[in-house]
Subunit: 135 residues, 2 copies
């Protein structure tokens, strides 16, 4: 099971980019992706923490992009919504008495680090503008 944070965040940003002049409500955004508005607000909280959107409370409130879509790359979103991508660990606690088990997580981590670097470099070539303009 992979949390939909990345997808939800990309979806939010795409919508915000498509309606650049308006403050879009979490309910409107949620209805496009068919998830609960509270989930949307949680991801928006994360986007705000990273200074990517601004929100306005109260009536006619909502959220709006606060950076240019041409300068925001998907790599940033990737790093915001994943600790790291990994392909899993057998367990956090392999047997320390086994010389292989003892070092397995470390070696898997090294491997996953390489993969993350690749993904990041791939995503750093895709701006929100470019992604959004596919629609």
């Amino acid at each position: 099971m992979i949390s939909g944070k990345f997808a939800i965040t990309i979806h939010i940003l795409t919508l915000l980019h498509q309606f650049p002049e308006e403050y879009l409500s979490s309910e409107f955004l949620a209805s496009s992706m068919n998830v609960h508005p509270v989930l949307v607000r949680k991801e928006i909280a994360n986007l705000k923490k990273n200074n990517i959107v601004v929100s306005k409370e109260g009536k006619n409130g909502g959220s709006k992009l606060s950076v240019s879509a041409a300068s925001l790359t998907l790599d940033t979103i990737f790093k915001m919504t994943f600790e790291t991508v990994n392909l899993g660990y057998a367990k956090n606690t392999p047997n320390p008495k086994c010389p292989i088990g003892r070092k397995m997580n470390e070696k898997l981590s090294d491997l996953y680090d390489e993969i993350n670097t690749k993904i990041s470099s791939e995503l750093s070539n895709i701006t929100l503008e470019k992604f959004s303009n596919q629609f």
Copy 2:
């Protein structure tokens, strides 16, 4: 939550490579990674289906590599243990009435396809032998 299939399978293969002449039991393998032997047997079933290991039932039975560790790359394991790696979908059913929502999963899929290709090409440079010789 990411299933540990990849990690468990790599762990199994590393142990099999370290003890190339022996049939290793699922209990021995499981004790190195501290998971349940039945989980190990399930991954071994997958490895057998892909003709990477052979097993012997009965007393003193267990599993053994049936391919050379130098010719097996981690890419093969990746493809065996993941449908695809993806960064998640907001939901399988975004709102079809929304022109953005309607096409989102398709565009995310395209993106994830690119990422998978990168990961595969990265992993195809790492043989089991190379990985295992780190220990």
